[in-house]
Every structure is written in structure tokens, then in C-alpha cells.
């Protein structure tokens, strides 16, 4: 029902292009892992290697401790949920979900019962006799999930399964995916380029770029204490302030700042800047403000460094007036060296 996945020094090349550079990754049994990154970062290649659709040029894939590097997809304890769902258009939902069981030689009555059970889990038991084209996008997505889980894989691989859905439906499906994963306990490896989706569902996020793992950690770790500039930028908006160590704290264009001495870029999320905090950022003038519903998005011009622009998300109710000069404070400081590369 569940297994751990161990990716050992996997390298993959397409002709002269290297899609993955010696990637190492340990995934625990029952974990919900999200591979996150921009298109071309190697996340789908890695998923295909775990699923058995690609053989890595070098390295090994162990699933449940067994070497699966050269095993065909059908003989692996994995199933893949495809981006376009890949439902069989000529089969009813029940037959779609029962397909994998049929291929495993399960008797008709048993596999139909199991298929209905799976459809019930995703809330589509009443539509078992329908064909895929009669369903909405979200419903198809659920059938694809039921089909992939029906064969009780140890590891479920999801290739951008929510990409085709609209925002509202995507949120809802994220919650359902997470709930179903907890229920069945199967290891989920989910690929997406949407960092909000990644944070919403993942136990751990693997941020990838140019065929390397930039950062691997819980959503909080990845968001609040990114290890590289890339993952800091990719996970969300940041304000960057160059800093260099001083006797106490650091010096910056804003003046001395009371944070642990370090050399590099101080990265602050917009919501880490406000009228109160751990350390002062000096005085600044509000240039522009816009109301975004749950927060005010404000641009400040520091008095000490007029060519810098700081973006802050201030809570509702703190009424900023354009032109006003206020003192800003920061929280959760992270200093990154621009040259710091993924250490793996």
C-alpha cells in the first residue's frame, strides 16, 4: 500500500541536454511530496524516471528498497495520474477504474465491486455507468485518481493533475487530494509549477531548477527560510536588500540593521515588513497603496535609499496614507549569497 522511494545519484541526458544533474532524493513511505519548479526544470523527467517511462542515464531508483531502475512501468508498484487524465473514452467510469484490476486478472464481480468502492471514495459512485465525455473536468480528474488508486499502488505519481482546472475547483481538489492521501496512506509524488498548490498539499516540497534540487523541506521551511535565491524568488515575492557584515549586525543601503552578521542579499517577504517587528528598517515614505481584500499592498521608498522600493503587505485596518513617512520593521530575515547554488 505504501513504500519509500530512494533516488540515488540520478542523472539524465537527452542527447546533449542534461535534464537532471546527479539528483539524490529520499521520500519516506506515506509522504506527500511535491516536485515544484518552472517548466524545463526537470521535475517531469524525474517523475517519469520514478514511473518507469524513462531509464536514467546514470543512477538508481529504489522503491520499497528494491532496485526498479530497469523495470517497466507495468511491473512497478507505481501508477501515474496523467496531466490529461488519459481516461479511456470508450469505457464507462466503472470499466475505467476496473481496468488495472482486470489486467491483473481479477474476476469481474470482484473488480467491479472494488471499482465502485473507489468511485464512492471520490464521490462519483452514482455515475459509474457514464462515459468520461459526460463529465466535467473536476469529475474526470477524480475518476483518474480512482483508477490510479484502484490497483493499490505503493506510490502514486501525479503529473500536474490540477493544471486544467479553474482556480476555485483547484483549491477544492487540493483539499480532496490531501484528504484522500491521508486516508489511503499511499506515497504521493506530485508535480506542479504552482507554488501555492505545492504549499497547500505537500508534506515536503522539492524545489527544482535547471535539473537540480534547490531546496527540499516543509512548506514553512521552503517559504520562510529558503536556501537559495532561486527558491526564495520562486516561492513568492521578496524584497532584496544587499547587506555586508559589520561589528554589530550588518550594514545596508538603509543603514545598519540589527540582524546576525552575514554577507549577501537580505530577503524579506512583503508580509514580513510592517509597523512592528524584530528589527528596524528605518524610515520610509509610502508611495502607493492598493487594497487587495485580505491585505493592503504598499510600496515604500526608504528615506536613506530613495532608489530602493520596498513592497509590504499590511493587515486590513492599518490605513496607510500616501506621502506619509513611517518607521518600518522587519521579521524573519534570511540572508542569501547570490552565488549560493543548490548544495544537493
Amino acid at each position: 500500500m505504501t513504500a519509500d522511494v530512494h533516488i540515488k545519484a540520478v542523472e539524465h541526458r537527452f542527447n546533449s541536454f542534461t535534464a537532471l544533474h546527479r539528483v539524490d532524493l529520499q521520500i519516506a513511505a506515506g509522504e506527500f511530496i511535491v516536485l515544484l519548479g518552472p517548466s524545463g526544470c526537470g521535475k517531469t523527467t524525474l517523475l517519469s524516471i520514478i514511473g518507469g517511462f524513462l531509464t536514467p542515464s546514470e543512477g538508481q531508483v529504489l522503491i520499497g528498497g528494491r532496485d526498479m531502475t530497469h523495470v517497466a512501468p507495468k511491473d512497478r508498484p507505481t501508477t501515474t495520474m496523467f496531466q490529461d487524465y488519459a481516461l479511456f473514452p470508450h469505457m464507462s467510469l466503472r470499466d475505467n477504474v476496473a481496468f488495472g484490476l482486470r489486467m491483473r486478472g481479477m474476476a469481474k464481480a470482484a473488480r467491479n465491486a472494488k471499482a465502485l468502492e473507489m468511485l464512492d471514495m471520490v464521490g462519483l459512485a452514482d455515475k459509474a455507468a457514464r462515459r468520461p465525455h459526460e463529465l466535467s473536468g473536476g469529475q474526470r480528474q477524480r475518476v483518474a485518481l480512482a483508477r490510479a488508486l484502484a490497483v493499490e499502488p505503493d506510490v502514486l505519481l501525479l503529473d500536474e493533475p490540477l493544471g486544467a482546472l479553474d482556480l476555485k475547483l483547484r483549491r477544492q481538489m487540493q483539499e480532496e487530494l490531501k484528504a484522500i492521501q491521508r486516508r489511503v496512506g499511499t506515497t504521493f509524488v506530485h508535480v506542479t509549477h504552482d507554488q501555492e498548490e505545492a504549499m497547500a498539499i505537500a508534506d515536503r516540497i522539492v524545489v527544482m531548477n535547471h535539473g537540480r534540487i534547490e531546496h527540499c523541506g516543509t512548506p514553512e521551511e521552503v517559504y520562510l527560510t529558503p536556501k537559495t535565491m532561486f527558491s526564495a524568488d520562486f516561492m513568492g515575492e521578496t524584497n532584496r536588500i544587499p547587506v555586508s557584515p559589520a561589528a554589530e549586525g550588518v550594514t545596508s543601503p538603509l543603514g545598519p540593521l540589527a540582524i546576525p552578521p552575514a554577507e549577501g542579499m537580505l530577503c524579506l517577504r512583503p508580509e514580513s515588513i510592517g509597523f512592528a517587528g524584530e528589527f528596524s528598517l528605518g524610515r520610509a515614505t509610502l508611495v502607493e497603496a492598493a487594497f487587495y481584500g485580505s491585505y493592503h499592498r504598499c510600496h515604500f521608498r526608504p528615506v536613506a535609499a530613495p532608489d530602493l522600493l520596498l513592497t509590504a503587505h499590511l493587515p486590513q485596518g492599518e490605513h496607510p496614507r500616501p506621502g506619509a513617512e513611517v518607521e518600518l520593521f522587519g521579521r524573519n530575515p534570511v540572508v542569501l549569497s547570490p552565488k549560493a547554488k543548490a548544495a544537493a
Binding site: G52, F53, L54, T55, H70, V71, A72, P73
Partner: protein
Amino acid sequence: MSIEKQEKRQGAALVAPALLWTLGFFAIPFAAMVMMSLAHLEGREIVQGHDLGNYLRIFTDPSLRRGIFVSLEITAVVTVISVLLAWPLAWIIATRVPARWRRMALLLAVLPFWTSYVVRSYSWALVLGEKGVVMNALVGLGLLAEPVQIMATRSATIIGFVHFFVMLLTLTIYSNLIQLSPNYARAAEDLGASRWQVIRLVILPLTLPGVMTGAFLTFVLCIGDYITPQILGGNNELTLPQLIMLQLGRRGDFPMASALSVVLMVIVTLAYAACARWLKMERV
């Protein structure tokens, strides 16, 4: 063995039967035919050789050389007339005929497709003959004093061909027209184009690639056809396919038949190259 290799092996196994069939029953016979075209006939024996004697004869013997020109002339005339007749027909069906009659009209326009090819030529022989419907009508109406000979002339061949290819081209051009967004015409009209300008400057150029493909198909099928010229054109002037069949039938001259086939093949290839080049240029 890597997964990709297994996949490739399975893929190759699936393609193999079709590939072997095409190789064994198409490529090899074709290569053998090219070899045969270099042989010649001594008495009733085929002597394998490696000379271009047959080809030399094709271009020097007036009756053989004439075949090439007859074929090319007929094919060119047929292709041009068919396109000119079919385009307006396809356009009228696609745009002027009310939507609910459209499929019906199209079905009617290609109805004779469903007679056998041989029978279609035969029915033109029936219609165009000295005592046929057309001559009867023309003489009866007083338009002609006496029947004119059409059967067993090039005109009969051309009429028979045009009949077939108008249907074929109407079908291809129609499917082309129906796929065009009506917004092209609307946009042009909106910008002040008259209906004639819309057709000439917008619709016609948009269908040109389709027309060219259809015209190429017409060219290939027309120049390689034996039945229509044989039934309608008679034996007064022979086309390439008729000459090929003549070599086979009368004297069993396989080498010459092969050489003529190679010439036919070369003509088609040249036409294809010209057409492909034009289409590529058009796309850039």
C-alpha cells in the same frame, strides 16, 4: 536492457509486418522494374542488360515520344478545367446553399463516385456516342445539322476525366472552405470589400493550398489512368498508360513497358516536387 530499448523493440515489432509487406510487394518489385527497364527483347526472350536503349527509343521513336506529350497535354487541360469548374461549385455549396440542404447538395455532387470506375467511363461513351443523348438533343433542337464525332477523340477523354475530377476537387475544396472561419469574410466586408473582392482577395488565397493538393492528386491519378482514355479516347492517339499496356499485351515487351513506367514515375515525382516546393514557399 533499458526500458526505452524494450519499448523500441516492441514498437519495431509492431511496424515490421507492414514494413515487410511494403518492402516485399512494393519496393522490391519496383526496383526490379527499374532493372527490367534496362533490359531488352530479343525475339521473345528478355535479355538483361545495362543500357539505356529503351529510354533512347522512347525519346526518338515518334509514336512513343508522342505518348508523353499526349498524356501531359490531356492531364494539364483536365487539371485546369476541373479546378475552374469545381471551385465555384464548392463555393456555392459551402456558402450559398442553405445549411440544411448543404450535405444533400454535396452528396448529390459526388453521387456518381459510387458507380464503378469502368462503368462511369462506359456511361460517357453512352452519352457522347453518335446516337447518344447529347447528339440526339443537339440535332433535335436544331443546333447541329448532323452528329459530330466526339467519341474516340481527345475531347471524349477530357470530358470523362473532367467529370470524375470535378467531383473529387469539389469534395476537397468544399472541406477546405467549410473549415475557414466565417470571420475572415466578415472582417473583409467590414473593412469595405465587395463580395467579389472578398472572394478574390481573401477566400481564394486561403483555399489555394487545398486547391494545389487537389490539383496534384488530379494530376497523378489522371496521368496514370488507363481506363478512361482506352474507353473514351480510343486508339487514335495513345497516352502513356495505353502505351504501357500495349507493350505488355501485344508483344510481352516487359523491358519497354518498364521503361515507360519509369518515365511516368519520373513525371509524377517532378510534379510532386514542384507542388511540395510551392506549398512550402506558401507556408513561409
